[in-house]
Symmetry: C3
Subunit: 424 residues, 3 copies
């Protein structure tokens, strides 16, 4: 592709899974010579601008792509510049930006710059504020950034289909006068949902509520990058939502402050301490965290089904039913059959981790991921904030936290009738 040969874009992100692969800080992902990105787009990258006559130029190419949610599941999606979400656009308040949008999709498109204060003719609503961008065409949008904050870009043309297929990206405007609180690390991701029926390879845009994959930046656990921080650092987590459901984002450990949304940063008297913040659809929330306690802190959507991968809603409920023999007989007839467990679903995580059970083709196990103490039994919208006293100087994953024994939950008995009143 010509574009990548010319080095105009940021390089494709090294897609490092949370567990096993290193999660490189964003600065190392940019082209040599490029100013480092200030925001770390989980599993993604920032788009390098070209400066021409005082205008920052960006080029977005809408196109069909092959996308991997996690090893074992790929789809045909629609995205920008080779990925879903597309690359993050970063600029600074006061910048003049020119955004070229080339349409290599089979149908027309536009881009709406969600949350950005601009002239009406740059708003990107196909039919209402501009003609549609036909396949093969390139349009230019140009405006001056009069604000700062976390924003998005996405199509406003056949919007339901195009967003369902993965077309979205972050547009982050840094303040020209600095941050009110020092931000040591700045993370960003977009929430999304996908209906990829078992054995199929394309998202189904007609699904409205019963999705089967829930993603951060179009990745599912355990393929989502970890967030890293050193103790004493203040980090920001920018969370945007282009799905069809509200997502309550929950961070274990330290409470965070909610400091702004897609309408910009809020004055400090509105900052609100939470451990769970609901991010509405088409909404963005900036969360700022003071990292005091080292450890592996889960960061996830608190809707329990959203931290699972496809699980076959509507299957018969076997909890408490003795299934001896049934699964084996069914499996002979239906090689893809996987019963929900008689005593819960946890047994699946172990089977899956050990390779004993296989689901339908191109379908991830419901629960995945291996932690320092065994299977994590998670999927979907789940990752970890790794807070450490020291991080590897060369970048990369610091491994799992080593707990001082005095601060680790301990086993005190294997007798089910244990009574603490009689002592341990």
């Amino acid at each position: 592709m010509k574009l990548s040969r010319r080095g105009f874009f940021g390089t494709a992100a090294t897609l490092g899974g949370l567990l096993g692969l290193a999660s490189a800080p964003s600065a190392t992902r940019a082209d040599a010579g490029a100013p480092p990105a200030r925001v770390t787009t989980l599993n993604g990258r920032s788009l390098r601008p070209r400066l021409r006559d005082g205008v920052k130029e960006f080029h977005l190419v809408a196109q069909e792509i092959e996308h991997e949610f996690a090893p074992g599941m790929k789809i045909k999606a629609w995205g920008y510049n080779g990925s879903t979400p597309g690359p993050t656009i970063e600029a600074t308040e006061g910048d003049r930006v020119r955004l070229y949008v080339t349409n290599r999709l089979p149908e027309h498109t536009t881009i709406h710059w969600h949350g950005i204060d601009l002239p009406n003719g740059m708003d990107g609503v196909g039919g209402l504020t501009q003609p549609q961008i036909k396949p093969g065409e390139t349009y230019a949008y140009e405006f001056t950034l009069r604000q700062h904050g976390t924003h998005m870009y996405h199509p406003h043309a056949d919007e339901l289909v195009q967003i369902a297929m993965g077309m979205m990206g972050l547009f982050i405007i840094h303040p020209k006068d600095g941050e009110p609180e020092r931000i040591d690390r700045d993370y960003a991701f977009i929430l999304h949902n996908w209906a990829v029926h078992p054995g199929t390879w394309r998202p189904d845009p007609s699904v409205m509520t019963e999705f089967d994959l829930w993603s951060f930046n179009s990745k599912v656990f355990p393929a989502i990058d970890a967030l890293l921080a050193r103790t004493g650092e203040r980090i920001r987590i920018r969370v945007a939502n282009l799905s069809m459901h509200e997502h309550p984002i929950h961070l274990h450990g330290p409470a965070f402050e909610v400091t702004g949304g897609d309408g910009g940063r809020w004055p400090r008297n509105l900052w609100r301490r939470e451990v769970t913040e609901v991010v509405g659809v088409g909404q963005i929330r900036d969360l700022e965290v003071m990292c005091r306690e080292p450890g592996d802190w889960a960061l996830h959507c608190h809707k329990a089904h959203h931290t699972m991968n496809a699980m076959g809603h509507g299957i018969p409920n076997p909890l408490g039913v003795d299934q001896r023999g049934v699964a084996e007989r069914l499996a002979r007839l239906l090689p893809e059959y996987m019963a929900m467990g008689e005593s819960g679903m946890a047994e699946h995580a172990e089977h899956t981790a050990m390779g004993h059970m296989q689901g339908p083709a191109n379908t991830l196990p419901m629960m995945m991921g291996q932690g320092p103490f065994g299977p994590l039994e998670m999927g979907g919208m789940f990752t970890v904030l790794k807070v450490r006293d020291e991080l590897p100087e060369a970048g990369g994953d610091p491994g799992w936290h080593r707990h001082p024994p005095s601060t680790l939950a301990r086993r005190v008995s294997t007798d089910p009738s244990f009574d603490p009143g009689r002592g341990e």
Copy 2:
């Protein structure tokens, strides 16, 4: 009908669709001699009170009605005084009000005055705070308004069915000491969802999540009134929600301030700048916007399926599938068959606009509406805030915005391999 002959009520609103028909300001809709309504109820009207012995009297008649969502789709609904939602009640803090409620439904009903601080026996919960109002009966509620803000009325008797059928209305109390910020125009609407199965004529109250029509004041795009404002004006948009889903209301262009809810106006230090505000079910939000940029600014729910009309969830997903010949053969067997497009759904909007495709009887096309640059590919919860330097003195629709060429997205190439690095 006796009631309208006596001129006791406001006249039925001129139902002016957004596109094509003029949207008259509310003042022109009131009876001659009536004080003009201060709030513009989209596609609706305010109920004119009768003053008797210092008490403002209103009369609401619960009844079955014929309701049109948009030209092409009518249902049997339940409403008040001939419409769903019923007429808006406007009063002023300190007023004593008497509300007569006549039940012409086939089953009992009550009215709960949602958010209003009143004696418990006026609260309208059938069985709990009063006897049910039987068919044919009239009850009187009477209380003094000790607060101001945006509130609602709706039944609290067979509530699930009666709200699903369209019974709801706005109850707006103006402050006796004026507004903290001048409000130049004041708009109000209620969000709702409807399950009207293809080919049927009544909402199905048993549906809990998978609705197929999403409305502002029981209308769907393109039949929803536009909001009008002049540049430099500050407008208020009062949004109430009596559906079964949260709705993230998104305004393009200017950020708004969220200034209060059904608990009343918030102190100014709580006002929060947003471009998308989630309005919860049974909740109200007042949004105030300073209109600076002229243009046609979309105002819609950001859940993509809620800006579509009925779309046949669960149809097979043909994206990327070559359907040549299939649709034609199916159409011979099933005259109502409309395949989702091989390259997206946008092609439907064009076909529909040109009259080439027909859906089932009494069913709106999934995507509708014609803008200045072609089909808008929208439906459901979508309308436009038209900000203009000047508005027609006689009232009515100002037409589409005329963009100065320098502020309109422009086509720069028709070559799919366009590279801005080489210049345009």
Copy 3:
């Protein structure tokens, strides 16, 4: 069971239904000699700690239980110490707590202390921060409470299944320096949803959105305790959500202030007046109410389907259809058949109250409850705040409010063409 014999736990709550049975104040539920609980857990109790060497010890036993939603419907659920939710843990900021967790389930589990600031190894995420607690094992968690507010405990192991089965509890930390406003009564409950298919006895964890039972502390109306208050008292209602949906909690009558969440109490300038507050999933909200008006004030989720019991979503819609003869013939074929009414659903509430109609085995009527003025036509997430000038000194239910006639909605006509313009 040994544990209860030793009196280590609080006694099981007297499960007093809202209508008919007395709702005892929490103090009377504690063991003789125990300091009275400061929080009233609706239909529940607080867990009595043992003090050992300056550490407050609590013991939670995860186990299968038999649970009754309301008289007429029992299930096999999973809970703690004999109930779902488990007993409330109350402690004070600065306390050192040791929590023993014994696993008597058929699969492994852990407990995550949601919202509590603690060392990472005490966070309770199975596989990530500790080994799973295997069946039969007991683990001890120990940490010092550095904060105050309303928090939760729940498993973080096979989380989807275990929470769906009822495993959850409240963890309330009182401030060491007192409350900023005097709190006269303090109520707490957790929102949940259940998929118990008609005729079955176990929740189905594979259901993601279309649940059929909606509960406060695992009870449905009319079995949910009433909240009591005297006029002039300020009460707090702590609402936690471990379901799969947002729940807009609506209180009739007085507006409340939202004063905090699971991230702790907010500074006073953030307190927000509302009559409906959306509690997100995995989120908690503290609502504080000044009780001025005596009466029976409904407190419920405002999603209309969530104040109904199981209602057979997907049944044909008979509104407006003459069903004479049809129901009788169907009932001969299907003894469990109950048609939705031709003129709404209210007729069911009357039939049910009179025992004329029976649903499937182990299934509650859709609408239940008897008030002072007839059937209430409610179910699920509904209860009543009873505000009285005086409450019974001996505790217990004060009965229904007696309305002064001047403050009760009154019937003024039985003529459907009633016209207030002609006088009453």
